[in-house]
Amino acid sequence: MAERYEADTDVIGMWLFLASEVLFFGALFFVYLVYQHLYPQAMAAGARRTDLAFGTINATLLLTSSLAMSVGIGWPDRLRQAFLAAGGLGAAFLAVKTLEYGQDFREGLFPGVHFAALTPEAGAERLFFIFYFTATAIHAAHMLIGLGLIAYALKGKGSPMVVALYWSFVDIVWICLYPLLYLVGRGAG
């Protein structure tokens, strides 16, 4: 009874923290929404230049890792394997992301000195890629923290449920970022 109460308190505490994380990423989403409103063509042009294959692979990896996490929570005997699987998929995500960044840099997408604009709205294209790199970097930082939490949980410390909640939340952030970074702009119209 006391353990259930304490476990509940941990879960409540993590959801409260996640609410604050919604505001954290929400501020960045607001930036995107503003510039999408002001420069729709440039935002669309930017989204056409990101690598859809890399982005979709990453989305799939994360969705599967979320599955693994929740399997581990519901099935304590297999917790270790499940968390290792989730962590492995998360590490794979980061590896793919690194490859993608390399390709992005080579194509001149980084909004530094050698930025290669395609449309006359070069400034707003830069804005898109500032958003792209900032959002994916902050997301990747959250993934790294998540890997650390998984390692912590595998050592038997802390609450696995709390780690799983955090991990799935980071997955949700990617799910919401993905269309903005890879999809809006691919349409013919």
Binding site: T9, F24, G112
Partner: protein, 529 residues
């Protein structure tokens, strides 16, 4: 045997998870920052004695006023009551042994100290000259100060705030003593709950804004850069989405303390308890929707400004409800003029003035003339200093016997409270007039016709400075020489007074059971003195 004598080593203090010891660690840090920010204020007022502003150069003045704002906002006002009195009193008031996450509490103090070191380092290396609001593109492209260190300090302090807020919310939900229902909670806890909600939801937006700011400043890649189509007003939207609720973070705990003081020293239950309780929640909620009133003349859409103006008028209502209910509490009460009550009176008067002048600023047409003048400066100092700092001192004196086990010297305390009230008004009332007459804020020099009012203001500041040093002196004195305090020197209700002064480490010998409302005063039990 109490929490102070339970371990004498430095380790037992620096690695404590006892909320009471952590509160004292915070108290020391907050006090240091208060004096740092106050020193900056003294230099500002000294400079403004002469119209040519000869004490500081324009650049130095800008850095000084930025230091004053940054330190006072993030390292004094935002944490002040929650991390000192909140940390100490919340578990006691709730009948718990500690907060929900004691180790997180200790981490939050370390984060706060590290944050402070970053900010102070940045300031002493030369600081920033943009004002505490860091507007882009001034801060990112045209100003060349130590933005990264200062921003890092504020960034880390944000994590400390969120940790504190999370701890309080979960504690108030989960650790209440048996019988302590929501409507039996002291109003201090309602206001701290509201404060914590704001901390949790507003701070993350500032965190993101600081990241974006530093990216633009350090690497030239930023989303606020007009040269690539960025909108500077976007920075202001994000900044004020946090910073307006932040001012409610600063004042709500003071409102809560005042509710306690008014009840105890009038020896009457708070009039309209439920209204006062829910008004804290209303302030927190509505306070999130008014931030655009900082941007009326910055290029914001007129229609959005209309909406924000209306909502800003609305947010004054719950504050007014509190003031009227305090008056209702005082009516036919058995009022004692102990120092905490004098601070509470000061709070009510000065907060009301500050709040009413906010309505002038919320009116679009009036704001066109008053914005960025000393009228605004006076408005927020009436609330922050006249209100909040008075409530801080009031609460500190009220709970001093519980925290330290000593009584402070009453006559010195009353003298300080009265001196603060007069010094404060002399400092800041002339500033309303200066603003009305058109003197801009953040200027190191001014037209000669404004000198008399500025001299009056600086004279007031010198009195205020002395008045703030007084409590520091006699409270420190009381630690060694003050009379020993009984468990309940004020005859006050509340669970914190049902344990010894200072409390034992575990707070209560046995978990208390609550059977009645928060402000019950038995007629026979008269307090001492």
């Amino acid at each position: 045997m109490n929490y102070l004598t339970d371990g004498w080593t430095i380790r037992s203090w620096l690695l404590t998870t006892d909320h009471k010891r952590i509160a004292l660690l915070y108290l020391a840090s907050i006090t240091a920052f208060f004096f740092l920010g106050g020193t900056a204020a003294a230099l500002i007022r000294l400079n403004l004695l002469s119209p040519a502003g000869t004490l500081l150069s324009a650049e130095a003045y800008n850095r000084m006023m930025t230091l004053h704002g940054v330190i006072m906002v993030w390292f004094f006002l935002v944490p002040a009551i929650p991390v000192t009195m909140g940390n100490f009193i919340v578990p006691l008031m709730i009948g718990a042994r500690d907060l929900a996450f004691p180790r997180l509490n200790l981490v939050s103090w370390y984060l706060f100290v590290i944050a402070g070191l970053f900010a102070v380092y940045g300031m002493f290396m030369g600081g920033v000259d943009t004002g505490w609001t860091f507007y882009a593109p001034l801060s990112t492209a045209f100003s060349h100060g130590h933005l990264v260190a200062v921003a890092a300090g504020i960034f880390i302090a944000g994590f400390s705030s969120v940790a504190t807020g999370l701890n309080f919310v979960v504690t108030i939900h989960r650790l209440r003593a048996p019988g302590l229902t929501w409507y039996r909670l002291p109003l201090f806890l309602w206001s701290l709950y509201a404060t914590s909600v704001i901390l949790l939801l507003a701070t993350p937006v500032l965190t993101m804004t600081l990241i974006l700011l530093v990216l633009e400043f350090s690497f030239g890649i930023g989303v606020f850069d007009p040269a690539i189509g960025g909108d500077p007003l976007l920075f202001q939207h994000l900044f004020w989405f946090y910073s307006h609720p932040a001012v409610y973070v600063m004042i709500l705990p003071g409102l809560g303390v005042t509710s306690e003081l008014v009840s105890v020293y009038a020896r009457k239950p708070v009039f309209g308890y439920k209204f006062v309780a829910w008004s804290s929640i209303a302030i927190a909620v509505i306070g999130f929707f008014v931030w655009g009133h900082h941007m009326f003349v910055a290029g914001q859409s007129l229609y959005a400004s209309l909406l924000f103006s209306f909502l800003s008028f609305l947010v004054a209502v719950p504050s007014a409800i509190k003031v009227f209910n305090w008056l209702g509490t005082l009516h036919k009460g058995r009022i004692r003029f102990d120092a905490p009550m004098l601070y509470a009176f000061g709070f009510i008067g000065l907060f009301t003035m500050g709040g009413l002048t906010g309505l002038f600023l919320a009116a679009l047409a009036a704001d066109v003339h008053l914005t960025q003048t000393y009228f605004v400066v006076a408005h927020f100092h009436y609330i922050m200093v006249g209100g909040m700092v008075s409530a801080y001192f009031g609460g500190l004196h009220y709970w001093w016997p519980k925290i330290t086990g000593r009584m402070y010297p009453e006559m010195w305390a009353r003298a300080a409270a009265i001196l603060i009230f007069f010094g404060f008004n002399l400092t800041f009332f002339p500033q309303f007039i200066l603003g009305y007459l058109g003197m801009p804020r953040r200027y190191h020099a001014y037209p000669p016709e404004f000198q008399i009012l500025n001299v009056l203001s600086s004279a007031g500041a010198s009195i205020l400075a002395l008045a703030y040093v007084l409590p520091f002196g006699y409270l420190a004195w009381s630690l060694l020489f003050g009379a020993r305090a009984p468990a309940n020197p004020w005859g006050a209700p509340g669970l914190e007074w049902k344990t010894q002064s200072p409390p034992i480490s575990g707070n209560f010998e046995r978990t208390p059971m609550v059977t009645e409302g928060p402000y019950v005063y038995p007629p026979e039990a008269l307090p001492h003195g």
